[in-house]
Every structure is written in structure tokens, then in C-alpha cells.
């Protein structure tokens, strides 16, 4: 028990220090990857098992970004997007302070950039979200935040943050509920 606790505490530390610990080479985009949190010593010790992340939900034909962006000049200026991506609006995500290049890497658009300057692939976007949402990131790693499928005692599939939260409008979209149960009077 106490060991678990200390390891849980270790996770906290690890999260705080995540930017400093670069993981190995990120695999190419669009391909499903098995990822072992081997670099996270604390996570390994606490027994967070290897987990599987499905590919991120890109809009059709949008990835790789470098197809278009390779030749373009980087324009770091804050502006209203007009020619492309005008559908992307930031809502409920600190829109006043936020700008594309806070997260997207200006030099190589196929990867994301953490505040520390470290580059992460889109499959590891949880590091990006985890920068600000640290406690949720820790919960997510432990499997408490977010949907999980797979085997309860074996291999598990995690979802990336972006599977449920559109990074530009992260609030969970309301769903239509399924029909309510039949009232007892009407059960015939």
C-alpha cells in the first residue's frame, strides 16, 4: 500500500518533470502504436500497464500538414484565419490568450510543440494537454479519466484527449440520449 502511494507520488513528480524526459522516437502518424511507458519510471513501477492509443481523429485529407505547409512562410502574427482553416475557432479554451503556434510547431507542422520546446507527435498529444491539465493527465494515465476499452486485466485501449475533446473547442459536445424506460403503467 505504502509502496503504491510513494509510486503515485512519484508519478506526480514525473508529470511535473515530463518535459525533461523525452521519450523515444515517435512513430509515423496515422499508424496505430503500442506504447510502453518505459521512460516513466514511476508509471512503470506503479503498474500502469502498456496501453494502446488509436490514431488521432484527423479530418479527411488534412494530414500530413507538411503537404501544404512545407513551402509556406511561417506567419507568427495573431490574426483571423481567412484562406484556410477558417472553420477552426477556439471556444472555451482561453481563446483570448491562445494562438495556433502555442501548440503547433511552426517549423515542422507534422508535430506539436510543448512549452519546453520539445516536439511531440500527434499520437502523443496527451503530453501537450498534460502541460496545463496535469491532474487530469495523471488520472488519464491511471485510466480514471476518459474512456477505456480492452481487457480489464490485460491490454487496454486508451483514447487520446482529442478523441473526446476537440482541442479547439474542448467542451464535451452534448449527445442525444437514448429513449427513457417505459413507465410501469404502460408495461403490458
Amino acid at each position: 500500500m505504502r509502496k503504491f502511494l510513494s509510486s503515485a507520488f512519484a508519478i506526480c513528480l514525473v508529470i511535473a518533470l515530463t518535459p525533461a524526459m523525452a521519450p523515444g522516437e515517435s512513430s509515423s502518424a496515422g499508424e496505430a502504436i503500442w506504447r510502453t511507458e518505459a521512460t516513466d519510471a514511476g508509471a512503470k513501477e506503479s503498474g500502469i500497464p502498456e496501453f494502446f492509443v488509436p490514431p488521432p481523429p484527423f479530418s479527411d485529407g488534412i494530414f500530413p500538414c507538411s503537404d501544404c505547409h512545407e513551402d509556406q512562410e511561417v506567419n507568427p502574427e495573431r490574426r483571423v484565419l481567412e484562406d484556410m482553416h477558417e472553420d477552426i475557432q477556439i471556444i472555451n479554451h482561453n481563446e483570448k490568450e491562445r494562438w495556433c503556434l502555442d501548440c503547433h510547431n511552426p517549423d515542422n507542422r507534422d508535430v506539436l510543440r510543448l512549452a519546453s520546446g520539445r516536439l511531440v507527435s500527434f499520437e502523443e498529444s496527451y503530453y501537450l494537454c498534460g502541460q496545463c491539465h496535469g491532474t487530469i493527465f495523471r488520472d488519464w494515465k491511471a485510466g480514471i479519466h476518459g474512456r477505456r476499452t480492452g481487457e480489464w486485466n490485460g491490454k487496454k485501449t486508451y483514447r487520446l484527449c482529442v478523441h473526446c475533446h476537440n482541442p479547439h473547442q474542448p467542451r464535451f459536445k452534448p449527445l442525444a440520449p437514448q429513449p427513457p424506460p417505459v413507465k410501469p403503467k404502460n408495461i403490458k
Partner: protein, 310 residues
Amino acid sequence: MTKYGKNTVRETKVSRRDLLKGAALSAAAAALPAADAKASVWEAFFQRHFQELNAREMEKVISRLEMEYAEKYGKEIKISTTKPLPGVLFGYGLDISRCIGCRRCVYACVEENNQSRDPQIHWITVLRFKKGDKWVSDMESADKYYNPDKVPEPGYFYMPTQCQQCENPPCVKVCPTQATWSEDDGIVVVDYNWCIGCRYCMAACPYGARHFNWMKPGLPAEEINTKTHYLGNRPRYSGVVEKCTFCIQRTRNEKGPYPACVEICPVGARKFGNLLDPKSEIRYCIENKRIFRLKEDLNTHPKFFYFFAT
């Protein structure tokens, strides 16, 4: 272990019971024209309690049931009788701060567990509470028939309930025929062939988790889930009680999948795992989150933990 250990004690009684049974059977056989009485009807009538069946008898019972089901639904239905895994005690977590009340779990459960479609039986009930109201123990303020266009609705929160798989289950205590019992992995199960339908357990359950087949369950053959467990989701009979079993047919495997409701939940509010495994996510919930259990004051010690991940 104890539950199965009991069988050996009971074996001694069996001979006498067999005698009585034999006497009754022969009397019945004599009373009825042999041509009319189908053997399986009598076999079903005199089928013994699940825990008293030895391996050979179990096999016979299962093959008979599979035959019956094949006849009834025109489909091959596999019935497993997997025993509890050693060192496993199932626990369930539900994140109230995430649930949006979309009822996906309710219908996933219906499909997975072959519940009756008409008349409707739902093992999961999603309750809607008003925020700022007097909290969930005041159940009267709950509404389970809410039907808005979109969920979550502002100003409401949702609390799904189902069998809480109590450590100290009042339903098991009251059953007059021991037709329902708590397995070693903590799942409370019902032997649908032993239940007499007195509904005492329904009166005793503080969570409204038990459901009665008021008539022959309306289960369309094409929608049937053929992977079943004897104590779980095999098709039920009229006049017996049924309940959530944490998808015993799925989870009772070393590398079994999550229960259907956990898999379907779009917001990931549902968590499931082994309470005896310190690395499981349910243990993480209990040890790191504020949790509560429904109707804690009744000392039923549910293994169903509601928690707040926020």
C-alpha cells in the same frame, strides 16, 4: 472457495434426496402417460441447485439447456459455467462528475445480457438529479424518465444505478431457497432454474437492482447474444428474478473484456477492475478520489463506488 467447499458437505444429503427424487419421479411417471411427458420437462422440473451439481450432472444440464434454447430460438447458444477466478474481487467505479446521462450503457447492457425487449427490462437505471438539490440520498427528487433533446442538460446531473454487488447483500439473505448467492469474486448471481419467483429479494434490495420477468421475456432470436454464462446472460424464464452480473460471461476470464456498459460509455465515466489488485484502476479511484457508496447507512457494503474525478 467456501461456496464450492460446501458442495462436498451437501453430497452426503444428495443420496437421500436422490431417493426422494427417484420416488417422486417414479410416482409422477406412473401417474402420467409416459408418451406425453417429455423427459426434458421432468429433468427441468427436478433439476438441482447449481451449486449442487457435479461435473457430470452439470454437463447434462448444460447440454439440455442448450438444446432447449436451440429449439426455442433456432440458434446455437453457448452456455459456459466458468468458476470465479482466484484472487479476484470485482469492483466498479462510476464517475458522477463525468456521466452525461446518455443511456448508452442501458441499451448496451440490454443487448449484451439478452434482456427482455418487450416487456422492457433494464438492469441499469439512470437517474437525473437537480444540481443544488439535496443530494442523492433524497431519491424522491430523482427522475428516471427524463427525455431531453440533448444531454447533459444544464442544471442537472446524472447517476446511473445498477446492482451494487454488495459485500453484505440483503437480497441473498432473504432468499428462501438460496437461489441467489454471492460468488467468490463478489458477483451476486441468480440460478434462474432454482428461483421460485417470490420476489422477496426485490423487496429487500435497497437499490431497485433486481428485475422480475412478469411474463415470458420478449427476446427476438436475431438479437440474441449467443455467448452466455449459466449464471449470467442466458435467456431467462417467465416468473424468475434477474439482475446485473458485471457481465460475468465477459469478465470471468483472465484476459476478459470490460463489461459492456464500461466499453460503451462515451465519456469514460465507468471504471472496472479487481479490488484485490493494487494496480487496478478501481483501486486508484478508491485511493485517490472522493468516493461514496449508495445508501451507505444500510451497511450493505456495495462494491460499486461512485466517485468524483474533478
